[in-house]
């Protein structure tokens, strides 16, 4: 009997041990990346337009292009990325434990996450809001008509709480059906288990476009019930790496603002007399040096992925399959919210 007790204790200890097995602090993230020659980037398991692998295993999407830009600024080669597909539950732990260098996975910045996860929000890459999708044949025109209805949602996201807040504030008594996996939540909606599906409006567009048999049979309701600033996160405690990710994003925005594109970047690098362009492309001052990067860090990124506007157009913009309008994601001087700190 005593032996049995000891055995039980050993099992308990071993199971707790697996949680304690976080690796010790890895030192400078950038050093690690340079040593292994790869940026390890956490992405979505499959959200077309943001982060999804095609049948050949090639990752594409807005979040993926951010990873590629980071690889270009740090290693000079946008292909040197290892993608780690993560679901909503895994993403923060993967970043905290050092499994990934950066989490670029349509993740909302919130106070709780910023203050309690040991992570840092870098810069917003997509301003979103939570919406609802319903079948056209339900004849529902507004989220206010969802009283007492079932709504499919993915667990462990800000979405779940927003839904509750909205349901409470509007007195709707919505019944959530919560799924761990994105695919399961989408599938439950399409089989008709729920009358509506809720997630960020961009996610709705992606799902409608890629998963629905006939996209025309589903409409996205006009109400947006929350603010969802999405962007990459990094671990706390490595300010240099935090700055690199943040400034890579700002650089892509600056490139758009000053008309630097994938096609003209080489020509501008050689000929541009504009001091701002020269600074961004590293032909006058060495802006990369302060970040611990090469002089042409931003030129490499724009050459690989294009500027922010090009990334947006290619992955989610009006001409892409998702067909999302630029809206608030336009530059500050074109009526949007995208405002980069100056590269100088």
């Amino acid at each position: 009997m005593r032996i049995n007790k000891v055995k039980t204790l050993a099992v308990i200890a071993a199971t707790f041990g697996t949680f304690a097995a976080l690796p010790a602090h890895a030192g400078k993230t950038l050093d690690g990346i340079k040593a292994r020659g790869q940026v390890v980037c956490g992405v979505n398991t499959g959200l077309a337009g943001f982060g999804a692998a095609d049948s050949a295993g090639k990752w594409t999407g807005l979040d993926v292009d951010i990873c590629r830009a980071i690889a270009a600024t740090t290693l000079g080669d946008a292909e040197k990325v290892k993608y780690v597909p993560l679901n909503a539950q895994q993403r923060f732990t993967a970043l905290q434990s050092g499994e990934i260098d950066v989490l670029s996975r349509n993740t909302t910045f919130t106070l709780t996450r910023d203050a309690s996860l040991g992570l840092n929000d870098t810069a917003v890459t997509y301003y979103d809001g939570q919406g609802f999708m319903v079948p056209v044949k339900s004849k529902i025109k507004s989220a206010k008509q969802l009283k007492g209805q079932t709504v499919c949602v993915q667990s462990g996201t800000t979405t779940e709480k927003n839904l509750t807040d909205y349901s409470k504030a509007a007195g709707l008594n919505i019944k959530p059906v919560v799924f761990e996996k994105l695919e399961a939540a989408e599938n439950a909606y399409f089989t008709g288990r729920c009358i509506a599906y809720t997630t960020d409006a961009s996610g709705l567009a992606s799902t409608r476009n890629k998963v629905a048999k006939d996209p025309a049979e589903h409409i996205i309701l006009p109400e947006l019930i929350s603010k969802e600033p999405l962007g990459p996160m990094v671990r706390r405690g490595d300010d240099e790496w935090f700055a690199i990710v943040k400034w890579t994003i700002y650089g892509l925005l600056e490139a758009e603002e000053y008309g630097i594109t994938q096609t003209n970047v080489d020509a501008l690098k050689a000929t541009s007399k504009d001091p701002v362009v020269q600074r961004i492309l590293g032909t006058s001052e060495d802006t990369g040096k302060l970040l611990g990067l090469s002089k042409d860090w931003m030129a490499n990124a724009v050459k690989a992925t294009g500027n922010y506007g090009e990334i947006f157009e290619r992955n989610v913009g009006p001409k892409s399959p998702l067909g999302l309008p630029r809206g608030v994601n336009n530059l500050w001087n074109k009526g949007g919210l995208m405002y980069a700190y100056p590269v100088r």
Partner: protein
């Protein structure tokens, strides 16, 4: 000749086996305590170094999310620990019901393997082989897909009297609570007493005179009648909360969601195949002569199984049966895949809202540890009761 004197036993000597045993166990216990302490300490230090907040204080904060189904009402303003409690009750609900149903079905299937009818035998065998050899997660998904894909939308629900079956689940009428139901419960009390007394008398009569009386049916009738009498005394309430078809969903009445039904069906059908094997093994273990002896006494096939074979098989069946109960309870954690809000699903949500990964996972582990130890305690007690008592 010198008589060999046995070595002097000193309980504090290294030569004493008992003493050595205690020392070894002490060393093991200290080593484990040290490792545990190191792991916990290391985790806490690392989490602090990374700025990750830790502690169980979040349990008293408002949860802020709704739960799709629960045994009692839950509001998002209630704290996390109450949300966890809802998850635990949801897990237990599916586990307890699943254990009861799987035991019934498994026993029938196990006994069916000894049927003289080749068709019955074959059907039981194919059931076991089919359900035992497909991973339970796939079975859960399969039932969920069947329930949500094949069933009609709520607006075109299949109707049988006051029952509705649709993608929204099974909707049924529930009695409106009134004093009448309470009276029915009051009536049940003397009913149980009388039924029990009747059964005792019937058993005694059988033992003394050999005339078999009704030992199951009549006591049940007495209980039912007493309960009905109580219900009539309480004013015979017949008011039901009937489900009605709304525009998009079926409203009012009671409801079993497709998530719950899929988990229950999947776990029951899967575990029943294992229980059937356990029962079969138990019955095979009873000596063949026992069955022959029973026939020689003039017992029919049914009595032979019920009175001679099964009671003896029970001793072999209970320990592996306990394992199946534990497995069923633990497998219910797969419910998260099809959206049933069990304790794992709610812990997942809490984990993501608060970022307290270590805490939430520990809580879930604690819940399963407690339910498993509880189940095994109960079954061990029953096993002791059923074991052969040497007198």
């Amino acid at each position: 000749m010198n008589p060999q004197t046995p070595p002097k036993k000193n309980s504090w000597s290294w030569r004493s086996q008992a003493f050595r045993g205690i020392v070894y166990q002490l060393i093991a216990a200290v080593a484990i305590a040290a490792i545990t302490w190191f792991l916990i300490h290391n985790t806490l230090v690392n989490m602090q170094a990374r700025g990750i907040k830790s502690g169980f204080d979040f349990l008293s904060q408002a949860a802020g999310f709704d739960i799709g189904e629960s045994l009692y009402p839950f509001d998002s303003a209630q704290p996390y620990w109450e949300a966890f409690l809802i998850g635990v009750t949801n897990t237990l609900r599916v586990a307890v019901l699943g254990i009861i149903l799987a035991t019934l079905l498994g026993t029938i299937l196990g006994v069916g393997r000894f049927s003289r009818n080749a068709l019955v035998r074959g059907l039981c065998l194919s059931y076991v082989e089919f359900f035992r050899n497909i991973p339970v997660l796939l079975q859960l998904l399969m039932w969920y897909v069947i329930l949500t894909e094949v069933l009609p939308a709520s607006s075109e629900a299949w109707t049988l009297g006051p029952f509705f079956l649709s993608k929204g689940g099974l909707n049924f009428p529930i009695p409106v609570w009134s004093t009448g139901q309470l009276w029915a419960a009051y009536g049940l009390l003397p009913g149980v007493l009388f039924g029990w007394a009747y059964r005792r008398r019937a058993v005694r009569k059988f033992e003394t005179t050999g005339k078999p009386g009704s030992m199951v049916l009549m006591p049940l009738v007495i209980m039912l009648f007493a309960s009905l009498a109580g219900w009539a005394l309480g004013g015979a309430p017949t008011e039901f909360n009937r489900p009605i078809k709304g525009d998009f969903a079926i409203e009012n009445g009671g409801a079993l969601t497709p998530e719950f039904l899929a988990v229950l069906m999947g776990l029951t059908l899967y575990t029943a195949s294992f229980i059937a094997e356990v029962v079969r093994g138990g019955i095979s273990s009873v000596a063949r002569g026992q069955g022959e002896a029973a026939s020689a006494l003039g017992l029919n096939r049914n009595q032979e199984m019920r009175l001679v074979m099964l009671p003896q098989a029970l001793r072999v069946i209970i320990p592996p049966l306990t394992n199946q109960y534990l497995n069923l309870t633990k497998n219910s954690s797969l419910a998260v895949a099809i959206g049933y809000p069990d304790v794992v699903s709610i812990a997942n949500t809490a984990l993501n809202q608060t970022g307290r990964a270590v805490e939430c996972i520990s809580l879930v582990m604690l819940v399963y540890l407690a339910t498993s130890l509880g189940t095994s305690l109960l079954m061990n007690w029953y096993n002791n009761r059923a074991a052969i008592k040497e007198r």
